[in-house]
């Protein structure tokens, strides 16, 4: 069969060049050569012998001066400033361990909360199984993920429901400039907190929760076809009752203080961190990243 070829967009059904304007996405696989055109290898790529190759399955995404591959699958890989939803998986004397769907659990230190926690009293504030909205602060070279609950819109979650989808689908849930998530909240009257880690909290009356869950399922499973925005909008419209349109309702009476009062349409990924360790086939130098 010979050498591997560069894939073109599926609709053309033939090999195409990868030099597309940004906005036209090319699927690449690990080991496929990427024409770098002078761009530097960014996340999801590696360089060997002057050529650049993809290291993950994903969409080729040139972001001058870098070229990167945005993964289409896999666990959540934390980035600083991401807002995420986690569930407490362990409680220790001075911190809790959160399952945020990342390769490692994330420790939330007692000082990373606005609460007056004494050492050994952490259990009183958060128990195993409870869920929180936190923000990723830093990542150290050993893979430890630092998170904090100090900040606006962060806190403990109560009530409602939680949906899990692939983190790769979160940008579609948010939409360009937040358009999709706004459509969802406006048409249902639900409160929604979107975690970059693929966890989404929904609250509202039962019908609203159900409709949001269904809309999220559509985005998660059907999103590869074109016209997703129209389909979701059409579904939400067809099940709406009068009074749901317009700005979404303020938090219900008795909504818990710590619950977020607006959705967190975290900004879609932008430029890669220039200082981020760029994967090559050499081991990383100590001190990087």
């Amino acid at each position: 069969m010979g050498r591997s070829h560069r894939p073109g967009p599926r609709r053309q059904g033939r090999e195409g060049s990868s030099s597309h304007p940004s906005g036209d996405r090319v699927l690449v696989l690990p080991g496929e050569e990427i024409p770098s055109q002078g761009l530097k290898p960014g996340p999801g790529t590696y360089r060997v012998g002057g050529k650049v190759y993809a290291s993950v399955l994903g969409l080729l995404s040139p972001r001058p001066p870098f070229v990167q591959v945005v993964p289409l699958s896999g666990r959540y890989i934390p980035k600083p400033h991401d807002v995420v939803i986690g569930t407490v998986t362990d409680v220790q004397g001075t911190f809790w361990l959160l399952d945020i769907g990342a390769p490692r659990w994330a420790p939330l230190h007692m000082t990373g909360t606005p609460w007056p926690v004494e050492i050994g009293e952490t259990e009183k504030f958060l128990r195993v199984g409870e869920s929180v909205v936190v923000q990723v602060e830093n990542l150290d070279p050993t893979g430890r993920i630092g998170v904090t609950m100090n900040g606006e819109g962060l806190g403990k979650l109560e009530g409602g429901s939680i949906v899990r989808i692939s983190p790769a689908r979160i940008p579609r849930v948010v939409g360009r400039g937040g358009s999709m998530i706004q459509t969802i909240t406006q048409r249902t009257g639900a409160q929604v907190a979107v975690g970059q880690n693929g966890r989404i909290w929904v609250d509202g009356d039962p019908e609203a929760i159900h409709r949001v869950r269904e809309a999220l399922r559509m985005i998660s499973e059907d999103g590869q076809r074109g016209g997703l925005t129209e389909r979701v909008d059409s579904y939400l419209r067809s099940t709406t009752t009068s009074g749901d349109e317009g700005p979404h309702d303020p938090p219900r009476e008795g909504a818990h203080r710590d619950a977020p009062e607006r959705e967190f349409a975290s900004a879609p990924p932008t430029e890669p961190d220039v200082d981020q360790d760029i994967p090559t086939d050499d081991p990383p130098e100590p001190g990087n990243n």
């Binding site: 894939p7 080991g31 969409l59 699958s73 896999g74 490692r104 939409g175 925005t229 994967p279 990383p284």
Partner: protein, 250 residues
Amino acid sequence: MGSVGAKDVPVLLSPEGLRIDGRRVDELRPIKIQAGALKHADGSAFVEWGANKVMAAVYGPREVHPRHLQQNTKAVIQCKYNMAAFSVDERKRPGLDRRSQEISKVIAEAFESVVFAEEFPRTSIDVYIEVLQANAGTRCAGLVAASVALADAGIPMADLLPAVAVGKAGGAIILDLKKEEDNFGEADLPMALVPQSGRLVLLQMEGHMTREELSKALDLGVKGCRDIYEVMKQALRDRYMVTPGQEGAA
């Protein structure tokens, strides 16, 4: 050729150069791969290769259990290859056996050669291979399934790992042994290729060969691997096909 004097030794190579199932010496058995066959694994693949049926699943990177296996600078890759009791003609007792342990080890090492494990220190990437139906070449089929599963799980690596077993029967070097060729042939050489570099990361041999035969076997195996590589890539593209009009958020 085979066991001299044994009954029922099949004719492995006809005078016309056809093998026991009608293939030529350099022909692969039919291969079908489905990426993302399972719902609950981080990545998965189901491979039907000749009469083999192999399922692979990847979980990770995730926290390491047991903790003492954790490595400070990279992810550990743990691989478990297992054959289901009903996957072979004579029922295999469930539980660890030495053959499966050896295969698990060489497959884990093959992946360690290509996975960028340094990106995930103190985690584990768990690869599970379950042979549901066996007909020779199960470690290669398992490796191929696991490789597709790793890509499906978004694990960063240098390349996919196509693999195939080359053998010797009827005096000829043959590609992709099936069961009778494995049982009655003179050599079995499974190998796995990194297409990007052209290097092998898995190589074993059972049986005997001359140097010329080995050279021919390596060439034939590498070519077979490149063909399998295309099937693997297509399986992933089929699962993740990108259609026009897909709005990126950025």
